[in-house]
């Protein structure tokens, strides 16, 4: 490994890293000072030039997203920060908010200056109580220091309020238009797009929606510069005009059957094998891995033989996964039945489907029931065909749903049928069973 100094995690573990005093002592808010010396358009240009792509899952270029806001809009323009982090396996946003809230807030203030947003709502899942309290304390410090409110940091005419808004336990609020609906006090049903939020978002006004880690990256792009950010990662493939490259540092979460589960920082493009062996201490109990989920549950599966896959925006797709997602790797060892993993995945998406689109609501439920049957040793080989029919029929890819939740539900099933089919067939033929400890309880 080339030497790499963590930037996003540099304050984690430092005493009182969540306070303004310590954050400033360690060089915090220099990015904001530099941003305020530029014009908003110059800040947008810097973020665009850095090649920063959104860290929340979709990987859309952040600076480009900001340019979609209408020019000369009379306002208000809103910023919504997505801290509804609920993708199974993902916890990097939580660590940033708990341990270094000012790093996130600095990026938000810079982002609002660049986009001329005057109100920012940070939508945080209810379950993150500690993050919520840390952020609120940090926001209070900023108001007291004149760094929020009227004329932020003494900059004439730059007014900004940041409010925290707590969710109520729904995965779909992580979908940007579901988040906006929820913020508005409604059920979190994703909206049909277009219009995209940049044109018509929160309260029907132009809105930019960004992820927590993306905001932390903005802080450092302004402080350390575009060249620094572009010095790490994987450049765009010149043969692929749609590849926007994978630049900058990334927070990788690794969980499941490894010796040292945790959140680790490395440049984009780390391989799964490096993450597991060099950072997470290898697979637990001296076992071998059977496979992993490369980027949060919805991204599908890699087999152990595919662990040289690079965790950047382009490579997981080459292995037929949905994408990089949140770069949260969930490892399962060679003693884990793939049926159990798949059942858990389908049950999650069935529980979290918002119910708006029939193919998703019904499809995720059917897949869960079929897998429960297979787990009980009552499956038939034809069930695999039905699973294939369902996964191909739901989602944005076939065009049957409004948002991507169904694609996320479909992908683990798709990849399992492609990559673990012999195991599934063997399981069904031999009527193997595994115990569902929760089914025995009744209730759910």
């Amino acid at each position: 490994m080339p030497t790499f100094e963590p930037v996003l995690l540099r304050n984690v573990g430092v005493k009182d890293s969540h306070t303004l005093a310590v954050y400033r002592e360690r060089g915090g808010y220099r990015g904001l000072d530099k941003a305020l010396a530029l014009s908003p358009a110059q800040v947008v240009d810097a973020v665009k030039a850095s090649g920063l792509r959104g860290r929340g899952g979709a990987g859309f270029p952040t600076g480009v997203k900001w340019t979609f806001l209408p020019k000369d809009h009379p306002g208000p323009i809103y910023m919504c920060i997505n801290a509804d982090e609920s993708e199974p396996g993902t916890f990097n946003n939580r660590i940033l908010m708990e341990e270094d809230p000012h790093q996130v807030l600095e990026g938000m203030i810079i982002g609002c200056y660049a986009t001329r947003a005057t109100t920012a709502y940070l939508y945080i899942r209810y379950e993150y109580g500690h993050s919520y309290r840390r952020l609120q304390a940090a926001i209070d410090e900023l108001y007291a220091a004149g760094m929020l409110g009227r004329n932020v940091c003494g900059k004439d005419g730059f007014h900004l309020d940041i409010y925290l808004h707590r969710g109520a336990g729904a995965y779909i609020c992580g979908e940007e238009t579901g988040l906006i609906e929820s913020l508005e006090g409604k059920r979190a049903w994703p909206r049909i797009k277009p219009p995209f939020p940049a044109i018509e978002g929160a309260f029907r006004k132009p809105t930019v929606v960004n992820n927590i880690e993306t905001m932390a990256c903005v802080t450092h792009i302004l402080n350390l510069g575009v060249e620094w950010f572009k010095s790490m990662g994987i450049p765009a493939d010149p043969k692929n005009p749609r590849d926007a490259g994978s630049f900058g540092p990334k927070l990788y979460c690794v969980s499941g059957h490894v010796n040292k589960p945790g959140c680790y920082e490395a440049p984009l493009g780390l391989t799964v094998r490096q993450l597991i062996d060099d950072f997470a201490g290898g697979v637990w109990k001296g076992r071998k891995a059977k496979g992993c989920i490369p980027g949060g549950l919805s991204m599908g599966f890699l087999t152990e033989a595919e662990f040289d896959c690079k965790l950047d925006f382009a490579d997981p797709g080459k292995y037929r996964c949905l994408g990089l997602g949140t770069a949260a790797v969930i490892v399962f060892d060679d003693q884990t039945p793939i049926v159990d993993v798949l059942y858990n995945s389908c049950r999650f998406f069935s529980h979290e489907s918002c119910g708006q689109c029939t193919p998703c609501r019904e499809g995720t439920s059917w897949m869960t029931k079929i897998l429960a049957r297979i787990r009980r040793g009552e499956g038939e080989l034809s069930d695999l065909e039905v699973l294939g029919d369902v996964e191909r029929g739901i989602g944005l890819t076939p065009g049957t749903t409004i948002c991507g939740l169904a694609d996320g539900a479909a992908w683990p099933v798709k990849n399992a049928l492609q990559k673990f089919r012999p195991e599934l067939e063997d399981w069904i033929r031999n009527k193997r069973t595994s115990v569902d400890v929760l089914a025995a309880l009744g209730g759910h």
Binding site: N93, R94, G167, E184, G185, G256
Partner: protein, 159 residues
């Protein structure tokens, strides 16, 4: 006698300037009401609607979407314990942890102990996968919890 106390109404109204319309205060208001009453009764829905200048059906529609809010038939206990059942926790004993607590407390997921102290629920990913299996007590997360530790934690909850 209104169900929402004057103090609670004031706290809800204090949020109005944060948003361009009052409907956006729906979720915060529901949270405040449930924190205090441990559920959201129909009368509270009507009173929230009046405060926010909405139809009660709009407030109810929102409430019913989120798994978080309870009606009086399923009133929360003093403490809410959520055990994560999603994949990273499942791989490290999360489901067994939940099953163990259900057995010890004689509860099914979603139920409240007869003394009204604890409501036990399953959760989907709590975002603490580095410490799987994890659980949430009210909104404090506890990582790498063994069945014994969880039992002691629950026994130690104040009434």
């Amino acid at each position: 006698m209104p169900m929402l106390s004057p103090a609670l109404r004031e706290r809800i109204q204090a949020l109005f300037p944060r948003y361009p319309n009052k409907q956006a205060v729906t979720l915060p208001a529901l949270h405040m009401v449930q924190d205090e009453l441990r559920c959201v009764p129909a009368e509270a829905i009507r009173e929230i609607a009046e405060l926010l200048e909405l139809h009660p059906a709009q407030v109810h529609d929102t409430l019913s979407f989120y798994g978080f809010f309870r009606d009086p038939d399923r009133k929360l206990g003093q403490h809410r314990v959520w055990v994560c059942r999603s994949l990273p926790c499942m791989l490290r004993g999360g489901e067994e942890l939940l099953a163990h607590l259900c057995g010890k407390l004689h509860l099914r997921p979603g139920e409240t102990s007869t003394d009204g102290k604890v409501t036990l629920e399953f959760a989907e990913c709590l975002g603490a996968c580095e410490g799987a299996p994890c659980l949430l007590v009210n909104d404090d997360c506890h990582l790498s919890v063994t069945p014994q530790q969880a039992e002691e934690m629950i026994a130690g909850l104040g009434s």
